[in-house]
Amino acid sequence: MIGQVFHGLGTGAVYAALALALVLVHRFTGVVNFAQGELAMVSAYVAWQLVDAGLSYWLALPLTMAAAFAAGALAQRLVTRRAADAALIMTIGLYVLVHALADQIWTSALRAFPNPFPAGPLGVAGPLAVVGAVLALLYLVIRHSGAGLTLRAVAADPRAARLSGVRVGRVHALGWGLAAVAGAVSGVLVAPVVFLEPGMMGGALVAALAAAAAGGFADPVTAVAGGLLIGVAETLAGTYLWADLRVLVPLAVLLALPVVRGGGLARVRT
C-alpha cells in the first residue's frame, strides 16, 4: 500500500509540473495551452540529444530549461500573439504541428533516457524535490522580482497595464517561457520511466488538464495538489479497485476538488 502511494506520487509529480505550466499560461495570458505537453516532449528530446552528445545530466538540465524558455516565448510571439480570440484553437494547431515535427525529426522509435534518481519507492523523492524546487523558484520570480510584478499587473488588468507603459506582449511571452520551463521539467522527469517517443505526454496531458481545471486554471497550489492526487488515486484505483476505473480518476478529481475548495470551475476566466 505505502509502495503504491509512493509510485502514485512519482507519476503525480509529472502531472503536477505539467498542470503548473497550464495554470501559468492561463493565468498570465488567458489561454489554455493544449500544446503544453508536446512542448514538454520536445524539451525531453532536447535534453536527450544533449546527454547523447556527451554532456552530463545536470548540465543538460539547465540548458534544456533555457531552451524551453526561449521556445515557449517564441511560440507565444509567433503563434498566439495575433490570434486574439482564436488563441485556444491556435494552441491545438501548435499541438499537431509540434507532434508531427517530432515524428519527422526523431521518428517514433523508443529511446532510453538516463535516470538520475535511484530505482524503487525512494526514487520518487527526486522528482518530488525537483517539482518542489521549480514551484518555489517560480513563486520567487513571480512574487519578488520586477518581471514578476509586471506579470501580475498584466494578469490583473492587461489594459491598465498597457496604459501605464507595460509591454504586454513581452510579458505574455515571459509567461509562456516560464510555463515552458515547468513543462520541460515534467517532460525530463517522465522520460526515464516511460521512454522517449513523440506520444509520451498524451496521457499526462489529460491528467494535467484535469488537475489545472480543478483549480480553475488559476490556482497553482490546487493544480499541483490535484496532479499529485490524480497520480495516487489512479495507482490505488488500479491496484485495489477494478482496473478499468483508472481512466475515470482524472475526471473524478476534476469534479471533486472544486467541491472541496469551493468555486473551482466557476472561477475559470474566459
Binding site: A119, V193, P198, G203, T239, D244
Partner: protein
C-alpha cells in the same frame, strides 16, 4: 472450394459493378470471375501501413515487402508477372486505412490488398474488402479473428496471439511444471486474447497464474503495476505489452533487485527499437517466441544472405538487420506462393490458392515451420519456437 466461389459470386452480384470491372473469359471454369489489376505480364498490389504516426516503426515491414517484390521482379517476376507494389500510409488510423484501401481498389485498381497492418486498421478494411470482393491477404496482425469464415476475402498470416500463449504454456509445463506466473497485459483485445489462451492452456496443471495487472494504452507508465506484481513473488513474469509498455516493464524488472522472475516477452513487443532502447543487459535471460529467422542470429544462412543482399540493393534506406524488414520479406514470399498457385487468374483464384497452401516452405521461416492452409484451417503459420536473449542476441532454446 465450390462453396467459396459461390459465396464470392453472391458477393459480386450484391455489389454494384462499375463499368471498368475486368472479368475473366477463359478458361471456362473461371468465366465471370474478376481480375482487375491482373494481366499475364503484370500484377498490381496495394498495401496500407503506418508510415507516419505512433506506430511508424512498423513502416519497416513495408520495406521488407518492397524488397521481396523488387528481388522477384529482377528474377523474372512471380509466375512470369512483374509485381507492382503500391504502399499507402494510414498513420495507424482505421478510418484512414479504409480511405486508402478504397483509393487503391477504386482508383488505382489493384488486384489485391497485400497487407494491412495492425488489428484496428485490418478490422476496418475487412468490411470494405469483403463487401467489394477484394482479397485482403496475409494481414500483419496476430488476432484470431482473421480466420472468421464470415469474411472469406480476408486471411491472416502470423501465428495468432492464442497460439503464442499456448507455446509459452507448453514451455513452462516442460521446464517449470509448478511455476507461479504474474501477468502484465494491455486492457484490450490483444491482451485479453493472449491472457485468456494462456490461462486456458495451463488450467488444471501445476502452472498457476497468481497475479495479473492491466494497463490502458493511454496510461503514462506501468511502474505501479510492476510494483504490485512483484509482491506476488511469482517465479515467472509474462509481459503482454506493446513495445513502449513492454520496454517499461523490462526496465522496471531489470531495476528491481528483490524480484527476479523468468521474463517472457510477447512477440509483438520484440522490436529492434525496443532492443536498442533497453540494451543487452536488461534483456539477458528473457524468453520470447518467433517463427522466422532473426536476420542477426541467422546472418550466415543462405536464405537470410539473399534477403540481406536484396534489401541492400533494392531498398537502400531499409535496415537488413531489422526483424520487421524480415517479417515483411517472409510474408511477401508467402503472397508470391499464393500467386504462383492460382488456378484461375482472378481474385477468386487468388483467395482459393491462399486457402489451399500445403506445407509451403519459405527459406526465411525457421526450420520445420511451413505455411499451411486448407479446408477448416484458415491460419497460415501456426508454429513458434522459443528463444532466449543471450550474448549473441536471440538464441534458440
Amino acid at each position: 472450394m465450390r462453396r467459396l466461389v459461390l459465396v464470392a459470386l453472391l458477393l459480386v452480384s450484391a455489389c454494384r459493378l462499375t463499368s471498368a470491372e475486368v472479368t475473366v473469359s477463359s478458361p471456362a471454369e473461371c468465366a465471370g470471375q474478376r481480375a482487375d489489376g491482373l494481366t499475364p505480364g503484370k500484377v498490381l498490389v496495394g498495401g496500407v501501413y503506418p508510415l507516419s504516426g505512433p506506430a511508424s516503426a512498423y513502416a519497416a515491414v513495408a520495406q521488407g515487402v518492397s524488397a521481396y517484390f523488387a528481388w522477384a521482379n529482377a528474377r523474372g517476376g512471380v509466375a512470369g508477372r512483374q509485381v507492382e507494389f503500391l504502399v499507402r500510409d494510414d498513420g495507424y488510423q482505421p478510418a484512414r486505412a479504409v480511405e486508402e484501401a478504397r483509393r487503391l481498389v477504386d482508383s488505382d485498381r489493384v488486384f489485391a490488398l497485400f497487407q494491412t497492418l495492425g488489428t484496428p486498421s485490418t478490422a476496418a478494411v475487412r468490411a470494405y474488402a469483403n463487401q467489394r470482393g477484394v482479397p485482403q491477404l496475409f494481414v500483419a496482425s496476430g488476432a484470431s479473428e482473421w480466420g472468421d469464415a464470415a469474411y472469406p476475402w480476408t486471411i491472416g498470416f502470423q501465428p495468432t496471439y492464442a497460439a503464442e500463449a499456448r507455446v509459452y504454456a507448453r514451455h513452462l509445463l516442460e521446464t517449470r511444471p509448478h511455476a507461479t506466473v504474474a501477468v502484465l497485459y494491455q486492457n484490450d483485445d490483444f491482451g485479453h486474447e493472449l491472457l485468456t489462451a494462456f490461462e486456458e492452456a495451463v488450467a488444471g496443471t501445476g502452472v498457476q497464474v497468481v497475479a495479473r495487472r492491466s494497463y490502458e494504452v493511454m496510461d503514462a507508465d506501468v511502474q505501479a503495476q510492476m510494483a504490485s506484481l512483484a509482491e506476488s513473488k511469482a517465479g515467472v513474469f509474462l509481459n503482454v505489452g506493446t513495445p513502449k509498455f513492454a520496454a517499461q516493464a523490462l526496465a522496471a524488472d531489470a531495476a528491481m533487485t528483490t524480484w527476479n522472475p523468468l521474463h517472457l516477452l510477447n512477440g509483438v513487443a520484440n522490436t529492434p527499437s525496443l532492443i536498442a532502447a533497453l540494451g543487452p543487459s536488461a534483456l539477458r535471460g528473457v524468453l520470447t517466441t518467433g517463427f522466422y529467422k532473426d536476420p542477426v542470429t541467422w546472418e550466415t544462412d543462405p536464405a537470410v544472405r539473399t534477403f540481406a543482399d536484396a534489401v541492400r540493393r533494392h531498398v537502400p534506406g531499409a535496415d537488413p538487420s531489422s526483424s520487421q524488414v524480415m517479417f515483411g520479406w517472409t510474408s511477401a514470399a508467402a503472397f508470391a506462393a499464393a500467386l504462383e498457385r492460382m488456378e484461375c487468374p482472378s481474385r477468386e483464384g487468388l483467395m482459393a490458392a491462399a486457402r489451399d497452401l500445403r506445407d509451403v516452405e519459405i527459406g526465411t521461416l525457421l526450420p520445420g515451420i511451413t505455411v499451411s492452409t486448407g479446408p477448416g484451417d484458415p491460419y497460415p503459420v501456426e508454429d513458434l519456437r522459443v528463444f532466449r536473449f543471450g550474448d549473441s542476441g536471440w538464441e534458440a532454446v
